[in-house]
Symmetry: C2
Subunit: 553 residues, 2 copies
Amino acid sequence: MSEQTLRVIPLGGLGEIGRNMMALEFGGEIVVIDAGVMFPEEDMPGIDFAIPDFTYLRENREKIQAVLITHGHEDHIGALPYLLAEFNVPVYSSRLTHGLITVKLRERKMLDEARLNVVEPHTSFRVGDSFRVEFFRVCHSIPDAMGIAITTPLGVVVHTGDFKIDHTPVDGNPTDFTTLSRIVGDGALLLCSDSTYAEVEGYTASEQVVGDALDRVIGDAPGRVMIATFASLISRIQQVINAAVRYDRKVAVVGRSMMNNVNMALNMGYLEAPEGTVVPLSAARQLPHEEVVIVATGSQGEPTSALVRVANGRHRDIEVVPGDTVVISASPIPGNETLVAKTIDNLLKQGADVRYSRISLVHVHGHAAREELKMMLSIAKPRYFVPIHGEYRHLVQHAAIASDMGMPGSRIFVLEDGDVLELDEASGDVVDTVRANYIYIDGNRLWDMDSAVLGERMRLSRNGVVTVAVTLSARTGLLLSEPSITSSGFIAWDDSNILSEKISKKVSSTLEDLDGESLDLEEVRSRLTKSVRDFIYGETRQRPTVLTVIEHI
Amino acid sequence: MSEQTLRVIPLGGLGEIGRNMMALEFGGEIVVIDAGVMFPEEDMPGIDFAIPDFTYLRENREKIQAVLITHGHEDHIGALPYLLAEFNVPVYSSRLTHGLITVKLRERKMLDEARLNVVEPHTSFRVGDSFRVEFFRVCHSIPDAMGIAITTPLGVVVHTGDFKIDHTPVDGNPTDFTTLSRIVGDGALLLCSDSTYAEVEGYTASEQVVGDALDRVIGDAPGRVMIATFASLISRIQQVINAAVRYDRKVAVVGRSMMNNVNMALNMGYLEAPEGTVVPLSAARQLPHEEVVIVATGSQGEPTSALVRVANGRHRDIEVVPGDTVVISASPIPGNETLVAKTIDNLLKQGADVRYSRISLVHVHGHAAREELKMMLSIAKPRYFVPIHGEYRHLVQHAAIASDMGMPGSRIFVLEDGDVLELDEASGDVVDTVRANYIYIDGNRLWDMDSAVLGERMRLSRNGVVTVAVTLSARTGLLLSEPSITSSGFIAWDDSNILSEKISKKVSSTLEDLDGESLDLEEVRSRLTKSVRDFIYGETRQRPTVLTVIEHI
């Protein structure tokens, strides 16, 4: 690799939603942008989340200069503890993001060692010999979200983070195209821009629109109003507080993560509420219903969240009564549709008036739609373009936008995680592919997507398991007692022991057939397993996992 | 129950999408409307589908006069073989629906016994002493869909089936409000109307709109066009054929269910194609790509479908090449979003130009939106209203529409499966609830939702299973050999046998601790299981299912 080339290596977030991470490499130095988690999909049962594969970073450990964080959402900071545990490099982030990272590292007792830095927008700083970094404000569904401009000897790289354009943001900080324009001057070398909503025509509505809707709901509600949203969506919570104040209601906050975030945002000044507006739930319960707004977690139908416990009638302190209005101020993240739908249905069955995004304008999302993406491309005027953050089809749609705007296809790169794009002034090319596996976190363990465990779990979930235990004489190889059969999640067991007895007989007869052959234990085990599996399939058309255990005495 | 009351008993489809079935009872006679399946949700792993609970029908077996079928979709006819196996009553349906039922019953060798009748719309017929039945045409995403008007001594019951209003339907048969108006006269007694899209404002677009979009795609495509849609969506396939003819392309049909349906529809005259237009795939493969349209199954991302095999590069005869256009002319049914998304991504990665409902107008659905639902309410002018077909929130939204139109709340009934609504001329009330469990079909077995099997499967999928086998002396109760430990889907196993050895030691020590206590085998087993479960949790923070097998020798 020439010293005068820039390498762009997405390690997560390209081809999926989540676990965002990108490495930029120039002159033997690497900066990493974001280190996020991805929440599990249907084919990852039992997984807490997935993080990016650090293999490439591990192999280039000495080159890493810093980690730059765009904003404080889990899909951008959640993998940071795992990253810093291996590479204790400096971290740069905006103020609120810093606060969220601090909480996360303190919980894991990693705060003392960590090298955290707060970055103010408009202030540039050096990273290594090759990079000058400047953050610029963008609008997103959390305050203090930043795009990052990285000036390299080859030109400016613009990484948007997650963004949308909001001309009337609740916190007064619009996406800062002035600063971006100043930095890129005649044009950026490379734009890496958020593709999450590249399929959606037009513009994403301003957060203000939701404020108007919430104001009407809270103003008109005959009784209590309960609003569920993301704990990180501080501007949404601000709008709830504003409306509550206007209609003389108190606000109670329910759910651990919601309480933590609201308290932190109040303390840091990201959330403003007149003295006495935010009250404990115990105080709110003493008030007439029409003087109360409850802000809660559970907008994604999370089974242990406050809203879902209320919906299921299992919340200690809150019970739905007719006259209650519940607002789900979020839309379901793909994969959560069913959980959210069941929550809505349960609330309706208990007599609540439920407002949700499909029937009411109680949510706008935080990502740029197609016209906003064009605006970003227009202002960054990049020589090269890499759509980031999205499933593959989102990246393709975003690439098509750039192409429609006249950018030559040879300068647009639809990359996947692990692709190594090498750029110089004249041209760019994918020159290599590095490992970018899903690394799964399950309880206190990490493991690799190549593991057979997930496949085994999917198979268990579809067919259940049957266990066969036999005790053989070490001397004669003959059965010393009846084979024991047990099972879990296997349907044919339901009604009788007949099948169990049949399997037991089948095991005995298989062993008799094997008698005389000189087989090692492993061979006997595998023959038994196959025989039982085939027998069960013949009897039931089911294919449970069969585990055979042989004891030799 | 008075002789002069009508009982309305939904047995499926109210509170869920699918397994539609309703019983109407008057004067000791029952008619059943539809008998559908429901496709499994996330919490039903390994299930083929669910059907309604026939307990109420079983208890009132002698009252059942007939089954009336609205249209030929699986969620309306799929449970018919199970129903007819128990109650061989006459079945009434329109012509195409009859054809589809015939295929289904023939496969199961039930055709000879079945008492099937074809009904022409506008022709009324008697069922039992209490019911006069007349079918009226409605538009839906399959031809020959019918609403049903049932005249009882108390008045007319209108059941819409699934419907939308299409003033320019492809088959020339609009929703027949003229006939409906004639039958209801001054107003129906009861309207049961499709709620699936009651959340959606405005009108559902005409099928014609999709025809225009498909015409442009096929006209402009540089190479092959592959179109995936529902096999039952005959009017969509007709529009593909029309466009293919216009642009001098041949049509090849791929996928077993698609071929069966196209052949049946051609034979019965529901599909028209000039001689030589529809060709075998083998013939299409000899043609230049720009002369070919392929119609295939797989619009829901079904893993074994033609489209998905093509997308994964595993189809025997079709390989994607750049220049190919793929149209997914369907939208994902809730729960299938991820499968469809992965299919799109895989096709894009292979270089196809992919059009799908989120970015292109290549699909309209078959259900009425809010303004159409109002039209149905206006024309039926019912005294009582029961929203049917939908999740609970859809029923609530539909009820709100009726209420907004001025209908008193006391005459609107948001029912759930199993509710028994009793109506007379003066008033209505839910007087009883009957069993309406999910009955699961898995391979060749039926079982009840109360079974523990599904819970066991969910647990296995999250945590895997660990099997512990021990052989004890029947005489001394002591271990005769090392305990054997095996597992599936359990993460901590991955890297070493250390944990397995630790568990083995734990088993031995637990047994030693039990020594001296006089416990029966079952008690020993449950103590061992608990001890191992706690031990594993302590070591790994995981909670696998633990199966303990004890052999006594």
